[in-house]
């Protein structure tokens, strides 16, 4: 006790108290505010009904009671299960806050619920189905051809290394480094937000698989030349130059001029 009492006026005490308080409040909130998604009610019969129940609870305020769309959200008729799986599965929907575009975040629904929602929307009007495991297989795809297609169709928004890019008015094309093959395929088929729709007629599944193979390659690629500075091109290279490199060179110059002790 004497140890603590002797240091009660130590300036670090304030910092320590602050940190303790932050952790206590944060930890406490995390412990008690464990957001549990709603349990499936015992009375739902099929997946579609469950999906309808979830939809009415969580989506209808913006997308309409019959998914016909309102002023706040577009119609979901015809978007297909794939679109629902993509948007809800990546956490973009439900929208956290109005903004330039939906932000991918922690999904609010678990896998079963996402599947239920997707089934419900699919039941309302025909649309792209959720890709099967077979659809997203890319082991036999030509990664080089995938690169050509990626650079023709994707790089202008998502950047040559898939790091993402800016669109107008604060929108953006996301970074692809965490995207799963299923998400990539769904995005290409459904054209989420600003992304165009790449139909199988003009970009056959084989080509889409090649693109997925290429993006997968980008995700796992090594950086042959060393630290890769974000793969954003000359901007980050110039930043590194004017900070680290010049700091080192000027430090050396100053060191040379300083009189030895």
């Amino acid at each position: 006790m004497k140890f603590l009492a002797a240091r009660r006026r130590n300036p670090l005490v304030a910092l320590g108290l602050l940190l303790f308080a932050l952790f206590a409040v944060g930890g406490g909130y995390a412990a008690i505010a464990n957001i549990q998604p709603a349990q499936a009610s015992a009375s739902s019969q099929t997946q579609v009904e469950e999906g309808k129940r979830l939809y009415l609870a969580g989506c209808s305020s913006c997308h309409g009671m019959a998914a016909q769309g309102t002023g706040n959200g577009p119609t979901l008729l015809g978007v297909g299960a794939a679109a629902v799986d993509f948007q809800v599965g990546t956490g973009r929907m439900p929208l956290a806050a109005p903004g330039a575009q939906a932000v991918a975040k922690m999904p609010s629904y678990n896998e079963t619920q996402v599947a239920a929602l997707a089934a419900y929307i699919a039941s309302l009007a025909p649309g792209p189905a959720i890709p099967t495991a077979e659809d997203t297989r890319f082991e036999n795809a030509d990664v080089a051809q995938g690169g050509v297609l990626f650079r023709t169709n994707c790089a202008q928004c998502h950047q040559a290394a898939g790091q993402g890019g800016a669109l107008t008015q604060g929108k953006w094309a996301p970074n692809l480094m965490q995207a799963t093959p299923k998400q990539m395929l769904e995005a290409m088929i459904t054209g989420p937000q600003s992304m165009p729709v790449f139909s199988d007629a003009t970009l056959p599944l084989k080509d889409k698989q090649a693109i997925i193979s290429y993006v997968n390659n980008l995700q796992n690629a090594s950086s042959p030349g060393g630290l890769d500075l974000g793969r954003l091109g000359p901007v980050t290279e110039g930043l590194f130059l004017w900070t680290a490199v010049f700091a080192a060179l000027i430090a050396a110059a100053v060191w040379i001029g300083i009189k030895a002790r």
Partner: protein, 346 residues
Amino acid sequence: MTDLTPHGNTPAKLGYSPVADVPHVLRVSDTDPAAAKRAERQIASMFLLSMFLVVVFIVAFCTIDKDTNVYIPVFGEVGFLTIVLGFTSGVSILLIGTGAIQWAKKLMPDVEVVQMRHEMTSPQDATAEAAANYERGKDESGFARYKIIRRTLIGAMALFPVPLIFLLRDLWSSPASGTLTPDEILSHTLWKKGERIVVDETYQPIRPEDLPIGGLVSAVPANLMEVQEVDGNLNARGKAAIILVRMEPQEIVAQQGDGWDYQGIVAYSKICTHVGCPIALYEHRTHHLLCPCHQSTFDLANAGAVIFGPAARNMPQLPIGVDSEGYLVAMDDFNQPIGPSFWERG
């Protein structure tokens, strides 16, 4: 100051610069022989380490496979050979430098010496002699006296570089285009009435039903592949590249010509009218086409009008229709030159 320090405070004599009249503090290595010895050892070990690292470089070069990767914290997965070669050679060379500088800082005299400057202007007699010699030379050459010789010489020298300028004319010799001028060549592309539109890279023809609402396709003329074979270059591609987008027909506010769309499918050039970057960044909900180079934005539902950015001209539109087999075709070439503006554009 005339007293000598252990490392030589050279007096002014025989061309050695005199010591400057500035305050001077002795270094530890000046007064303490043990410190000087330590400095000597430090410098020698730097050079020694440098030599050792060269050996490591050689070993690495000969043994590490060029395809090997290695995981290093912070760096991630990187090429092993490059990192090792760079590190060893870099530090090795760096050590030579630090050794030399430590040598200068710790062991060489750090007494500042002074040297006088001399005015840059030459002494009077030199200037006078130069002037006199010039006058003599001018007289003897007769350059001022022989007017005709002078003038014809100037004429000949002036015309001397002219052949070079003419030789540069054939930096562009234009056999393929005949007697067309650059602006005429720029004003035409491969597109013509009936030319089929095919998907870029796969050359697959397109039916209207292949393109969904909100869809985007980068497209080229069907004959591009053989034209490229014949030409042996990418010039035709650079002018003929287009994008097809589909929107609801009622969303089209304006076009560059009546009925240039086909059931809501519109075709626009892919080359920005600012300075020529290809554009395929299409936001299908807003129908905006965005150029990544300088952020020019075009509204494809409104005749390709510029709505933001430094481009001054609309994106040129290609009139399209379908042929007898139901594939999309161009109905004509563009009605204006595509790409960046130029003087003769009008």
